[in-house]
Symmetry: C2
Subunit: 710 residues, 2 copies
């Protein structure tokens, strides 16, 4: 077996390949023609705004990372299985995710205007630019994640930088203490990734909706300007918001899930007796890295199949790439498991079981994405039901959307529950972690597809603002429409993977805290579940309030500019778009601190005050309640959005045969529904993914400390 | 100690006193002057409608009860701790709750018109009639509940009607098997009560909102009639709905909680070694009955303190009665515990601990009620925040309401979690059950206060329809306004007591199923929590859809009558109100079957297919998620309602000093919010209380069967 352990090099090699591929695609995108001066001026302002947000965000983050790293180092100076190197892992995780976000945003904001220009030539050209721009984000995320994780793993296990200690603080010799310490220290990387995700998703979510509401409510409703009109001071901030929320936010979210699933599986691999001997039977620990590496290779190959012809359907091209990569990956997993899985010392789990668990995860992930897409797609029953209910007014539209969102939780949760039971049936809790990893193995191309959406959206905005010919806007609209579907699938996928990752981290937490059961019938555990179940509600209300308050600041600024800048509405003077970007940036970052602090502090307090079991209850409660609320909010919001869109272009034909035009009463009711859904689907809902994972990873990181104090 | 066991007679005696008191008050109400012919015609139609609903409901129920009783008897023909008498308990529980609902509704619909007439004389007279009408419901519920429970307990333990069996089906001799079998068989009473609650709360909730929406949307909005106009065909159904939802529904809900808490505590009393000997140390088993009995006596005394003078505040009168009874009860509990609690064989739990647990429950119940009232009251921050957000339109009003509802879950859940931990700290899981009972001990007067609200509401409607002088409507409005506050407190209290009761039943379920721990780290348990957490969402969406569909039928009927009955809108012809009542009745009962079946079938399927531990996970998930969603929906709905009311009578003054009149844009936005909130607070929210308790009691009833098959 020992020589096969060399297969671990698949991980860093795949990581390097992913980064090279990303660099190649980035330079290709950059080499494309950005179009006219009018276009580049707009695109530059969007890019400047996006970079300004990132710069401000990273300033806050730097302070945060230094403080947390210091605390982590201090708390882990000595003790069994601990080392201050956990702070290094933490900083590395934060830096890797932050760098991926920076690169992804930079290239996405290069790609948007070039997509617009390519659309003047044809649909295939435009798709190529948009998708290649997205693939830079996808490959940078997985590349940096796997390179960081495999690098740290090799550093901690193959060198002597960390000194394992026993319970009395004396050096502990032998392979097992070294491996245990290494994996305990690696969890810091996952927490670093989660910290960035918190800022990117929560801060980004507040940013994007504050800008959106400001642009819509004053610009469109009060001043009567069309969408994306250059006279609207908040319109640049709105376009920046699409990148901040959907590129950087989604990227950091999946970075966190990806890393969490790998780390969770590696830590749980410790439970197999086979790993007690260095070099022999290390399969359970290194297989997660190798599977992730293979997934990257499949993703890279998959991107080459994403191409279309004029008049073709970009959706099919994207599906071939993503599903093709997933299919190949499913087969490849069995080969890798066969090669790497030890013959003995695996508690009865075979290579075949591990392969099955991966496929279960892949299947559940795809199925949740499809269900989400069904609930949120134009022309499908659920969205048509909401459009139909708009006939009797706003109230019935809202009630229908809320009811639909609640109903839409059922099948995904049944899928998750079935996935957990089935993967655990074949391979125990390790199976659950492997299933999570299976779901995430092709994140490279998944995220490329996700990031393609906002690039296409931005391209449409630039086409509008720079007064392009109608067929250009038609082509970008076609790309954008597909982007909305991929966004819906992506959101469902992000929630599903967050749930599975949280469960993997939960199992890893129990192992590290040294507890073998968390008994609901213990009042502390039940209290923990109650408190955990409540946190997503409180967190969501904070996020929605933050949007409301930040939007108010934006509204006042836009009104002020219309009032004070002479000639602005007549198109004779330029708006001060930078000031709107600045307001949204500051408001978003300031207002994410309270919910963010709650997510980090609660598990620490509950863990140390009420003990590891109560903390376990808290995690179970927050995971279940958070996943449900996220599904409810994301799907209701997505369905409201498309119910509104159903009225556009020719109107919506009700069951009774009447046609309701855009601008009619039914459409107006649907617009209100969409506005209610905005903070649901773009702020609170996605933020819950982070809450669930962040609390689990904080628990995992502090688990060894709790184990000692209780 | 033995002679003190005679204290159990406190329970049946208190039950008889409660019924005599109810009969006395009922005849007093009946003896009051119902007023003019015009008034009695309207009141008779409301009463007929209410009775028609009950009759139809009880026909469905009869079929349901026969089927379930048959299944229960067949499944419990033999086996350790089982007997077919459980079917008798079940029928008795259903009959008792059904009878209480019938009596309460009958008297409430007598009291409404007499309150109107009394309001022609003065406020104190009107309060007296309304409150005495409500107290009949309160005392009938607690009287029948305690009489049924104590009667069955004595029948099963003091006679030989049931023959205890051992695991092989042979007769089991001795006191312990007899007591165990008796308590196992008594759980059927709780399930019977839950079945009625399901029909009354879910069916009633659909009824009341279908009628309300039909009356409002066609009568008020389309035809421009004022509220409660006699020309509106659905207005009688609307007034019937208030009784069906808020009198019968709330009564059955609290009947279920009350019985569930007592049964849960009695079953958990089995865990104390002291009860192994008949006649000695039976305190843990009979104390719950005695505490409930004493609570009834306190409640009866409390009702005498509910009186006011002209120009006085009815709220203060109600508070004195309810809080006074609770305060006396807190003291009395210690006396009773001191008398009845065994000196040894109680696993270290002392009489003092039991007293503390009761007070914890009382305190948590009162605190949750007050928090709920804060979040839903006119003039308080949260409601004013929503009113403020109505300025910028419907969307911001809705978002503010949803955010507020989510935020409002925090403190009640912290209170419940603290209550669980604290009561378990002093007296184990038995302490949790006793805390639930403490919360519910003064249900007699609590429910009287709750049922007073809809009577006052109806009285106002009758005043309007029968064209009374303005000061009459002013007085009934004053009573009604107080009723809205008591309703908000009552809803919070109902949710809190449902949570605590469900936890008591959960603990009893574990004991009866013979499982000592439910380990979250078992994948089946985690899957159970996920599925359980999802059920309240699915259940709520079903309930809200049912309201939408039933309302559509009602809307079409009202439109048809306006179209086809000549002279109706001119007041020259009478509407066919009976037909509207009929439609609402049938629509409600038909549409509650699917969610109802789901609530009963799910625990059975999960229990037998996935085992007792998975079922335990399901119960934990449904309890936590159900309580959160119920708090969210009830509080959001209550706050929207009062935000709308803030604009009535002189308009609402915003922070910026502008006054927004009734009928203005801000008020219209608030009206939409209120309409969205209606199915939240009156259908889906309260129905979740039933879901949570019903699933727990079904689990408790089938627990001995699962214990054998797994």
């Amino acid at each position: 077996m020992e020589h096969l352990n060399k297969l671990i090099y698949v991980a860093p090699v795949a990581g390097v390949l992913a980064l090279l591929f990303a660099a190649w695609r980035a330079s290709w995108v950059k080499s494309q023609d950005p179009g006219t001066k009018e276009m580049t001026v707009i695109a530059d302002r969007i890019q400047e705004g996006a970079m300004a947000f990132l710069k401000a965000e990273y300033q806050y983050l730097a302070v945060f990372v230094v403080i947390v790293a210091g605390a982590l180092a201090a708390a882990n100076l000595s003790g069994e299985g601990r080392s201050w190197w956990i702070a290094v892992s933490f900083v590395a995780g934060a830096a890797a995710s932050g760098l991926a976000g920076f690169v992804g945003m930079r290239v996405a904001t290069n790609a948007n205007v070039r997509t617009t220009h390519a659309a003047t030539k044809g649909l295939p050209q435009a798709l190529a630019v948009a998708f290649n721009g997205g693939s830079v984000m996808g490959m940078t995320v997985v590349g940096l994640a796997i390179l960081g994780l495999s690098g740290l793993y090799m550093l901690y296990t193959q060198t002597d930088v960390i000194t394992p200690m026993d319970a009395h603080g004396n050096p502990a010799l032998g392979w097992t203490p070294k491996l245990q310490t290494a994996l305990s220290v690696i969890t810091g990387f996952s927490m670093g990734a989660s910290s960035i995700a918190l800022f990117a998703r929560v801060g980004g979510g507040i940013y994007t909706k504050a800008a959106d509401v400001g642009a819509d409510l004053v610009g469109k409703v009060e001043a009567g300007l069309p969408e994306d009109d250059p006279r609207n001071p908040a319109v640049i901030a709105d376009n920046v918001g699409d990148n901040v929320g959907d590129v950087a936010g989604m990227g950091a979210d999946l970075f966190e899930s990806y890393v969490g699933a790998i780390v969770g599986a590696m830590v749980l691999g410790l439970s197999f007796p086979s790993v007690a001997s260095e070099g022999i039977g290390m399969g359970p620990i290194i297989l997660p890295l190798v599977i992730a590496g293979a997934g990257i290779l499949c993703s890279i190959v998959g991107t080459f199949f994403v191409r279309t012809k004029e008049g073709g359907n970009p959706q099919i091209a994207l599906d071939i790439g993503a599903f093709g990569a997933a299919g190949v990956m499913a087969v490849l997993t069995f080969v890798l498991a066969k090669l790497l899985w030890p013959a003995t010392g695996t508690n009865g789990v075979t290579w075949y079981d591990v392969g099955i668990a991966t496929v279960i995860g892949l299947g559940v992930g795809v199925a949740i994405g499809l269900v989400t897409s069904y609930y949120c797609s134009i022309g499908k029953g659920p969205v048509m039901g909401i459009a139909e209910q708009s006939k009797t007014g706003t109230a019935t539209n809202i009630i229908a959307g809320l009811g639909l969102g609640m109903q839409s939780t059922a099948i995904p949760v049944i899928l998750i529950a079935a996935g957990v039971v089935a993967s655990a049936e074949v391979a125990g809790v390790y199976g659950v972690a492997i299933a999570a990893l299976g779901m995430l193995s092709t994140t490279g191309i998944q995220l490329a597809v996700d990031a393609y959406g906002p690039i296409a959206d931005n391209a449409g905005g630039i086409a509008e603002m720079s007064h392009q010919a109608p067929e250009v806007r038609e082509r970008t609209d076609k790309l954008d429409a597909v982007g909305n579907t991929t966004a819906a699938i992506g959101k469902g996928f992000a929630i599903g993977s967050a749930a599975m990752t949280a469960l993997a981290l939960f199992a890893a937490f129990m192992q590290q805290a040294g507890i073998t059961s968390i008994d609901i019938s213990q009042p502390r555990v039940m209290a923990g579940i109650f408190l955990g179940g409540m946190l997503p509600y409180l967190f969501s209300s904070m996020a929605m309030n933050a949007v409301g308050e930040a939007a108010m600041e934006m509204i006042e600024e836009v009104r002020r500019q219309f009032r004070e800048i002479e000639g602005l509405l007549e198109g004779k003077a330029a708006p001060d778009t930078a000031r709107c970007v600045d307001i949204s940036t500051k408001a978003a970052l300031r207002r994410m601190l309270l919910p963010g602090a709650m997510a980090i502090v609660t598990p620490v307090v509950i863990g140390f005050v009420m003990g590891a079991e109560a903390l376990g209850g808290l995690l179970a409660g927050v995971t279940v309640s958070g996943v449900l609320l996220a599904l409810f909010m994301s799907n209701a919001g997505g369905a409201w959005d498309n119910a509104k869109k159903s009225f556009e272009g020719g109107g919506y034909k009700m069951k009774d045969g009447t046609v309701h035009e855009k601008g009619g009463e039914a459409h107006n009711a649907a617009v209100v529904g969409d506005t209610v859904g905005d903070p649901f689907k773009d702020t609170a809902g996605p933020s819950l993914n982070i809450l669930v994972k962040l609390m689990s990873v904080v628990a995992l990181v502090i688990a060894p400390l709790i184990a000692v104090t209780h």
